[in-house]
């Protein structure tokens, strides 16, 4: 039988997959980055057991990308953001985060605390 800690980790994973694949591909620019960060966090915080979500769209990486291309916006993808989340399930607290690990946006389980 899955334990409460297993369930808490499963729930934390759902939130990360949701956040990434709901919003990947969204047109984003420096001017729209702040409203997108807020909407992403508030949307995912609606999901069960999701207590806090923090999304940082990385202005410097975005600026670098825009400087090297013709269009003045791009599509949101993992290399433009860092995310931290806290999930609480039956007294278990799970912290997760996403950062680039080389060329891959790695979703990581940071801690699982009872």
């Amino acid at each position: 039988m899955p334990t409460d800690a297993h369930e808490a980790c499963f729930e934390a994973g759902i939130k990360f997959g949701t956040l990434y694949h709901q919003f990947a591909g969204t047109p984003v620019s420096p001017a729209s980055a702040r409203s997108l960060e807020t909407a992403m966090a508030e949307a995912i915080e609606n999901q069960p057991h999701c207590v806090a979500v923090d999304v940082d769209i990385l202005d410097d990486v975005l600026a670098e990308t825009l400087a090297a291309q013709s269009a003045d916006y791009t599509e949101l993808t993992g290399r433009f953001m860092e995310v931290r989340m806290r999930v609480e399930y039956e007294g278990i607290t799970v912290h997760t985060e996403m950062e680039m690990e080389g060329d891959y946006p790695l979703m990581k389980l940071v801690s699982v605390d009872e």
Copy 2:
């Protein structure tokens, strides 16, 4: 050969398909509706020739749906929103909007003006 008016209408359609299918499925509640409206509008305004986007998430329809179900949020779909957009392309102005027409979220070309 497509005319400028044809191109303007094509561009207006792209924006509507983008808005709908990028954000359909987003977890939404009364508490997160305002930030989602803003992020949707600002995201689509990044796209070429898109001058103004206005998204209204319909609080009353949302409240009715939430009252009739177990969860306290739902997924964004056409019946929870009305959208108006203005696209300008080579001097042509196109107004479009989306509203429910019976049970179908109809995207409509309102006017094409030179």
Copy 3:
């Protein structure tokens, strides 16, 4: 420190969030249901540690919905599908599934085996 079982459950959750929010909103009809099932399963099986994905689009529920509306297709959402997945991580096997629980598409951790 998270254990291998915690990581396995987190990975399983990511796959479910991805599957749901990547494909929710896709136009679907009886004629296109089979190709969508296959594409969803094969797309998610690309993700790390994801060994098997089975997606069933529920023809009877789809038919019922289409009979009651004007359009001859609808948007994919949780009530039109059942999903089963198997994730393997460092010798841990996790089985998950999604089914409607009343009006909510519940993603469930079925078993975690070492």
Copy 4:
């Protein structure tokens, strides 16, 4: 008042925005490219007035990208595909296509014929 040709171009644009933003971000590899092409085409062909959709996922571009990175899959984006569509509306036939134009996935109106 919008003409039938305007409406046909607007409809053609909607299909392109839908296709791109519904499927951008999907995990894709050489092994899953064929099923994704089929599902994308059949999904969009469900939409009103959309007669034919052809999606080519570019195996060579995909292979090049995978050779240069650590993961053995990537996320679908414009540079991995070419798309052609035919929309028919009240006797007007519109052909559209998407190809990379430098670094930008350009959606183009190819012809509008009465």
